[in-house]
Symmetry: C2
């Protein structure tokens, strides 16, 4: 294939300089050398990035649309991000705002295997908003995390994930923690007659992640969580592909540091590479995402696009029960609300607090 990938950068530059800056970006993200070194006409015609449009979007700020040859970025996630924002990430006044990919990419990458519908089917919850919580703090041994999981599940939580800080530490090795939590959740699901899904955090090198996936499969668990920007996009995509039958959650660790628009990275790209659900900080919590960022991210995760299944938005990061009505008004019901810390702070009343959370969500419609 050799079609054009259309990339939108936002560039801070004086109006008199923007045309040259845009040309320089088109070169940087394609041939990456002076045009004098590009002697073949075919490469100038087909491989060289092209400035397609420059549009002012603010005081000394421009949206620059550049088309790149798909031949330079085959459907390999690492090379794709390398061509979109490899060297230009080093330019302090450039951010990556959006990407339109030819249809071959979604077809090759595949997107979510479950998506919103598949997660709902797995839970038997067709319409209402979904609920999630996290196991923490770090430092607890497997039995203590399993006990938290059990008590959260008895409160009716749909999905429980490891905190992303819980990996394969000596105080809670993956091989001990995951079976312990899985057993606790099987017991809780049996006693309340409804499913609570468990998503262990899978991390490390690709080899590490495959060893962990073996344990996940042995325990017949339904889901996993990964940090795509930490494990590398190519390995994220490969694990998502290999994790047949498993719901894949993406965690934004390290992704916030990128000067890449969150809706593009956590919404569109993570979905493209196989995230069934994408976790991100809702505005007004501990992080500083604007409401518009959150809306654009949820929209990028869910909207009809090629034949990709929609990806479930999972707002998190300091949500409390008293904000649920506002969150559901904001996102609608195709959402999973993730409340961690403010449930866990309930101590011995954890199950009751979890039940308040799930009842409040249910009160907005089954």
């Amino acid at each position: 294939m050799n079609e054009r990938i259309v990339v939108t950068y936002q560039v801070a530059a004086a109006p008199a300089e923007i045309a040259a800056r845009a040309e320089a970006l088109a070169i940087e993200q394609s041939v990456e050398c002076p045009l004098a070194a590009v002697t073949e006409q075919r490469i100038r015609d087909e491989i060289l990035g092209r400035v397609e449009a420059i549009e002012p979007i603010g005081e000394a700020r421009f949206a620059v649309r550049i088309s790149l040859a798909s031949a330079t970025a085959p459907a390999e996630p690492g090379q794709l991000i390398n061509m979109l924002f490899g060297n230009s990430s080093i330019l302090p006044d450039v951010t990556l705002a959006d990407v339109e990919l030819p249809p071959g990419y979604p077809a090759a990458f595949g997107g979510p295997k479950f998506g919103i519908g598949g997660i709902r089917a797995r839970l038997g919850v067709p319409r209402r908003a979904l609920t999630a919580s996290a196991l923490k703090p770090q430092g607890l041994p497997p039995e203590a995390l399993a006990s938290l999981a059990h008590r959260l599940a008895l409160g009716g939580i749909d999905l429980i994930k490891d905190d992303h800080g819980i990996a394969d530490q000596a105080f809670s090795p993956f091989a001990a923690r995951v079976p312990a939590v899985a057993a606790a959740l099987r017991q809780a699901s049996d006693s309340r007659g409804a499913t609570t899904l468990y998503a262990p955090h899978v991390s490390g090198s690709l080899d590490d992640m495959r060893r962990q996936l073996d344990i996940v499969r042995r325990e017949e668990l339904p889901a996993v969580m990964l940090m795509p920007m930490v494990v590398g996009l190519a390995n994220f995509h490969l694990v998502a592909k290999e994790a047949a039958g498993l719901i894949v959650l993406a965690h934004p660790s390290l992704a916030g540091a990128q000067r890449i628009a969150p809706d593009l990275l956590l919404g569109k790209l993570f979905r493209l590479l196989g995230a069934d659900a994408t976790i991100f900080p809702h505005h007004g919590g501990r992080f500083a995402y604007a409401p518009g960022t959150c809306r654009a991210l949820a929209e990028a995760a869910r909207r009809d696009r090629h034949d990709l299944k929609p990806c479930l938005p999972v707002p998190a990061g300091g949500i409390a029960i008293d904000r649920i009505a506002a969150l559901l008004a904001f996102y609608g019901s195709d959402v999973m609300l993730l409340i961690g810390g403010s449930l866990l702070a309930a101590g011995e009343h954890l199950t009751e607090q979890a039940a308040r959370f799930t009842a409040e969500v249910a009160s907005h419609g089954q």
Copy 2:
């Protein structure tokens, strides 16, 4: 082991708020939940992040030193960066400035296998500054890249690497390109009686990289280049470990987007994980690193630290021959100057231009 990792963040905050912001950071990067949810005294004592110091460094700007428990971040590179800057990367007013690791980490990670001395020994060049160039533009077929490599080598270049945009594309598949360039460089080395090292760009998932490494080994090549932030730090480290006998170059693609101090990321951390040489943009070229950033980066790569071999600084990004004297004055001779585009623009005079480059470097001392 449970020692303390000491992390320095730079935080933009009002003086009245910095104490609370520092405490919040210490929580975010450790237990990540309200203290009310941390009921075990042992976890409060040992696992919870501690604010060790807060120091003003400018108008409403502070250096905050936080110590984290090494037990939360075993010597696994992904988990280490996750604990250093996972969620806090999402905070727009926080940057990761520095890290002091207990000696167990350098011992476990191992650092460069060759380092500056090993690269010099491989080349038989004990003292003078080293020279490098890159194969580009993208879109050229293997024979054309091999011809460029041959002509650059005849000009006396010490090391030739693939452009980081050259991966495994249809116009130049890895399996065809690498043997072609390797053969051209063997021939050039024979005819000039001195070695030019070739570093192919190894990319993709860990599986992809291992397949590519097989080809590198089959061709008995001396070096490889990887993009640690794209492939994931854990996979970078694993490949560096597995690449026995190969010099490992790190490329800064995507790394510039991080709000992580370049000297820490490209200097200290890439070296720690096995980079024998680290490529970065020199100031005054196409990128915007300040001179102080470049100096700190080179210093972090080279200085005596634990038992790690020094890592070779490779300034690049728009260097031309007329800047060599200034660059050598700036970095000293333990450096490899990487000039790509401005050599390639010489067209049919490529070998002569490369010879001017190497002669100019040699004129500053053998």
